[in-house]
Symmetry: C2
Amino acid sequence: MERMKDARRPTPLDYALLGLLHQHPMSGYDLRRILETTALGNYSSSPGSIYPALRRLERLGLVEGRVDRAESLRPRKMFRPTPRGQSEMRRWLSQEIAPDDVARDMDGLMLRFAYLGLLDRPTATLRFLEQMEEGVQEYLGELKNQLATFPPRASIQSRLALAAGIEGYRAYLRWARKAKTHFKEARR
Amino acid sequence: MERMKDARRPTPLDYALLGLLHQHPMSGYDLRRILETTALGNYSSSPGSIYPALRRLERLGLVEGRVDRAESLRPRKMFRPTPRGQSEMRRWLSQEIAPDDVARDMDGLMLRFAYLGLLDRPTATLRFLEQMEEGVQEYLGELKNQLATFPPRASIQSRLALAAGIEGYRAYLRWARKAKTHFKEARR
DNA sequence: TCGCACATGTAACGTGTTACATGATTCA
DNA sequence: TGAATCATGTAACACGTTACATGTGCGA
């Protein structure tokens, strides 16, 4: 139980990469391609962020990189999560949804949800969806209140922008409810 | 027409602040309170980001700060946009929507939309909404394609996460269409 | 042979985060 | 008297962005 020195928390990008590596080992280049071509690309991308991120994860002991095709002229480094990386991932996934997360970090929540299959425990997903539903409902109330008490001199555009936010969260709410049933069905 | 030295572009936070200052002059503290309590808070917040941002805007010549209540024991600095700040705002608002914006910077687009009332030109708003509609439609196609060609071994959760993204953009699409009519009506 | 995809990195830079610091006013 | 609010800042830090750098393998 030694205290770790330099125990910085991983960044969102770190978790995005760590999650991908849980599916199967990959090189930095493979990871880059995935980030570039999929919706995960918000936590992007480009060598300047991902190679440093991988070294960070190595330093934290969460992934391990082994040089593949070492004899070849074009070797590549394959990364896989360490046991420590796996348990850190589980810890991150099992967290409660913080009150602020829905308002300020919905993307982070969706990233966590996307990887929630790694915890092989259906209840965890359902609990997540329920907490999310609750959080979204609460925040929706706040937003609606903001719309009701909107400064009268404000432009139509700013009012409409707030309305867009509300619609977005409404969509999340519907999605969460539907996902619950979808997920219940799918787990037989 | 001298070339400016150190002509860095303003950051999203800068534009958020500059836009607020267009409504009426305010102090840094006032701005902070708004960011803390409204949905604008994503471009947040806390003295450590906003006071430096204001000095940045001053350095760029986009806002001007004047000390108010100087004789008082609790003076405050009121900021207002300069002519240069106003024209920079118009430039920023008048930009075309870049192909990538919809996928990677929807928040930035909505921020721009919120301030679009500052251009006193209804056509600009309509043009924006049309470009946005088009961009969202295109990106929706991409996302649906990603869902269709989803790796078969992937978890239900990751599939559902992608579905959530799709629902979100669908909501934006509906909103954009509705906003067009709303806006047409509202401008008489 | 030309260019593109593969493959991995480094360096400068600016920005936001977090934590700290200071002091006045107002109200309980 | 003490706490909350008003009001403005600074300093360390780490991260992502951008641009640069290097070299192989492969197909046209």
